[in-house]
């Protein structure tokens, strides 16, 4: 089951973005609870906990979703009898409670997103050339808003995975934002023209590595060496507030392909789902609470991490 959930999450995140994935997951959870027939509250909690355990095992781990699960757990009514058969009204109360928590979480996510976009207005982008690479929906939304507010800047999209690049092209194009596209392996020719680089991420781990689209590390490293300012746009609810497991690789997808020329050539194609990029390569991190340096992000992260650990101990 964790593999199944993992695969779904990865695919949706690639299509829609992390915040939208989190919203979709909450919606699906709400519908699932509505259809769920449980004999008593203990049974409900047991199955919810088991589901949470699976959600925590996904690769990559989506912090925002895991946090939302925890928050729902925290807000479950505690005055319902554990082993008594659950009545219609009690079930309705659980669902109502759940929906209320989900609405609060969704509103908070949207508010954080708006605050982050507002904070991005503080970045001086006038007459600048901005390079983007990953397909973060939050980043695209920010760029669209920036373009409406400050028209005078140029966007270059570094092409990566065709599907993700198409998503960026469609999102910008549908909002009448002009851009140019360059293959990411040809970026060295544009190095001098680019003034700043913008990124988004799936999460920030406690190792202070961002989990990002594959290929991000190359682009970040290149522009870090060229001393170009690199910005990360991420809301703090995406921070992974747990100890990261030591893993040597991200999700790898291998497939056998065939090439037809004078003879049939069969080969294995390897694709990676994400890159891990150290926080230290980023000059600024734009969050809902402000535009931070790496050092400040570390302190914000540590504070949130400590709070979460405390909360976890209280709940369990």
């Amino acid at each position: 089951m964790p593999e199944l959930i993992s695969a779904q999450f990865r695919e949706i995140e690639a299509d829609m973005g992390t915040i939208e994935l989190a919203e979709l997951v909450m919606n699906a959870l709400s519908k699932s609870v509505m259809s769920f027939k449980f004999s008593n509250f203990k049974d409900f909690k047991k199955q919810f906990k088991s589901l949470l355990a699976d959600v925590k095992k996904t690769q990559p781990r989506y912090a925002i979703i895991i946090e939302n699960f925890y928050k729902i757990w925290e807000h479950l009514p505690h005055d319902i009898h554990q082993t008594k058969k659950i009545g219609f009204l009690e079930k309705k109360r659980i669902i109502k409670n759940l929906s209320k928590t989900m609405k609060v979480l969704a509103r908070k996510a949207r508010e954080d997103e708006s605050k982050l976009i507002e904070n991005s207005f503080g970045i001086d982008v006038r007459e600048k050339t901005i390079l983007i690479y990953d397909h973060s929906h939050l980043l695209i939304k920010t760029l669209i808003k920036l373009k409406k507010a400050v028209d005078h800047f140029r966007i270059i999209v570094a092409a990566q995975d065709p599907d993700k690049t198409t998503q960026i092209i469609e999102a910008l194009g549908n909002n009448d934002v002009a851009f140019q596209v360059v293959p990411s392996y040809m970026l060295s020719h544009l190095g001098l023209e680019i003034d700043m680089v913008f990124f988004g991420a799936v999460t920030l781990k406690n190792t202070f590595n961002f989990v990002m689209d594959p290929g991000s590390l190359n682009v970040v490293s290149q522009f870090h060496l060229m001393k170009k300012p690199i910005y990360m746009f991420i809301t703090t609810d995406k921070f992974s507030l747990w100890k990261a497991e030591v893993r040597h690789s991200v999700h790898i997808k291998k497939s056998v392909h065939e090439h037809h020329c004078c003879k049939k050539i069969s080969y294995e194609k390897i694709k990676f789902s994400h890159d891990r990029v150290p926080l230290k390569y980023f000059d600024y991190v734009v969050c809902e609470d402000g535009v931070f340096t790496g050092r400040k992000v570390r302190s914000v992260y540590k504070k949130k991490y400590a709070n979460r650990q405390l909360m976890r101990k209280q709940v369990y």
Partner: protein, 432 residues
């Protein structure tokens, strides 16, 4: 006579073993019939039943244009929402929708529309989609037997025997509905563990709901034109209405289909370039039909079919037994050979049988027996019908292997039972 038989048998073997594309084989066979002077070039052109070919072509254009409007994707999304992720509902709703679609669209098109979404949905839920696909294959062939346009054998039978769209529905609905039940009930009972509701398992419910939302989101992200969808649905419905009324309107079915295709192409010309739609017409299938008509005409010229008719006629003097022989003969033959050549051969044979029983009120039963046998028999093996082969190919592309024997474990007993039910229907019809 021997040359004609040899050409036909060789062509049949090449078709069965898929040595070349069947359209090439049929075209080659037809040319050989002409080159060996079995029939003249003029007779060959005359032998092609253009009504059948135009009807097929028009339906292919109509469906292709409608497909581009996204109406079938929209329907799939609605169906998925309707199932609420319940495996039993998915199984039943998708299978029944396949039967309904197959009655009005080409079986292969139906399979192409339904099977991929079934695999995505069921596999996404962590379940094995095999039984779902099998049910869809079975019901596509059974549903296709219900109408004149549902399956190529019916198109040929309808065109040659001058049977109307409503004739098919009115006469065939009892065995078709019985067949659907005969397929679905044992399949549900045998696979109850896989199909039982998941509402006591929060994890399964969660995964299913995620999947439903994902599919819905993907669909709603496609830019759809409401006008295009409305025009497509309206034209399809009008065409179906036209089929129902074609005898009253004194318009043959192929003209109704051509009207539908042309009207839709005209009113949606802003959305679909006609040459793009025409590219999707299965020209190879149409060439296959043309070649086949010529080959069968060649056989007819040599008197082989007359011999065959005589053989069948001398076996019994009872029309009911003849109908049963045709039903089972068509059923068993369609399990191993393409049902279209078989039906094409049987049509002149049935005409000769009818000549002997002129005046018998149950003469049309022979056509229904042929239609039921040919369409339902196609379920018997994995190569029995094009829809089966296409579904197995789609499954294979999705890393799901449907083996010949694995398929037959379900298909053979179910097909024989449905054919037995059809026999009961024939006996009953003769007794009233």
């Amino acid at each position: 006579m021997l040359t004609a038989i040899l050409i036909f048998i060789a062509a049949l073997i090449l078709i069965i073993f898929e040595v070349f594309d069947k359209s090439l084989v049929a075209l080659g066979g037809a040319l050989l019939m002409v080159l060996t002077k079995i029939i003249t070039p003029e007779e060959a052109v005359h032998a092609i039943d253009f009504e059948t070919i135009l009807l097929l072509m028009a339906m292919m254009i109509l469906v292709e244009i409608a497909k581009r409007s996204g109406v079938f994707d929209w329907l799939n999304v609605k169906l998925i929402a309707l199932t609420k992720g319940n495996p039993l509902y998915i199984f039943l709703i998708f299978a029944i929708v396949t039967a309904v679609f197959s009655a009005f669209l080409d079986n292969v098109t139906t399979i192409i529309l339904i099977v991929p979404i079934t695999i995505a949905l069921v596999r996404g839920m962590g379940k094995d989609p095999k039984i779902y696909i099998l049910a869809e294959i079975f019901l596509s062939n059974i549903g296709g037997a219900l109408t004149l346009i549902g399956d190529p054998p019916n198109i040929i039978i309808g065109s040659k025997a001058k049977l109307t769209f409503l004739d098919f529905i009115v006469n065939l609905y009892p065995p078709i509905f019985a067949g659907i039940l005969i397929i679905l009930i044992p399949m549900v009972l045998l696979n109850w563990k896989k199909l039982r509701p998941i509402n006591r398992n929060l994890k399964e419910l969660f995964v299913t709901n995620i999947l439903i939302r994902k599919i819905t989101y993907k669909f709603y992200n496609i830019k759809l034109s409401k006008g295009f969808i409305i025009k497509s649905v309206a034209t399809i419905l009008l065409t179906i209405l036209g089929f129902m009324l074609h005898s009253t309107l004194h318009l043959p079915a192929h003209i109704v289909a051509l009207c539908g295709a042309t009207i839709l192409a005209l009113i949606t010309s802003k959305h679909v370039k006609i040459h793009e739609a025409l590219l999707q017409v299965e020209w190879t299938t149409l060439i296959f039909f043309a070649g086949l008509f010529i080959m069968v005409s060649g056989l007819e010229h040599t008197g082989v079919l007359e011999h065959l008719a005589q053989m069948i006629l001398t076996s019994t003097n009872d029309l009911m037994y003849l109908a049963l022989i045709i039903l089972w003969g068509a059923g068993i033959a369609s399990m191993v050979v393409d049902n279209i050549p078989f039906v094409t051969i049987m049509i002149p044979v049935i005409f000769q049988i009818q000549d002997k029983f002129v005046g018998d009120p149950n003469l049309t039963m022979l056509w229904w027996a042929l239609s039921l046998g040919a369409c339902i028999g196609g379920n018997g093996t994995l190569i029995g019908a094009s829809a089966n082969v296409v579904a197995a190919d789609i499954a294979k592309k999705n890393n799901l292997h449907i083996s010949f024997l694995g398929y037959m474990k379900y298909s053979m007993p179910l097909t024989l039972t449905v054919l037995a039910a059809c026999s009961v229907f024939i006996v009953f019809r003769f007794s009233i």
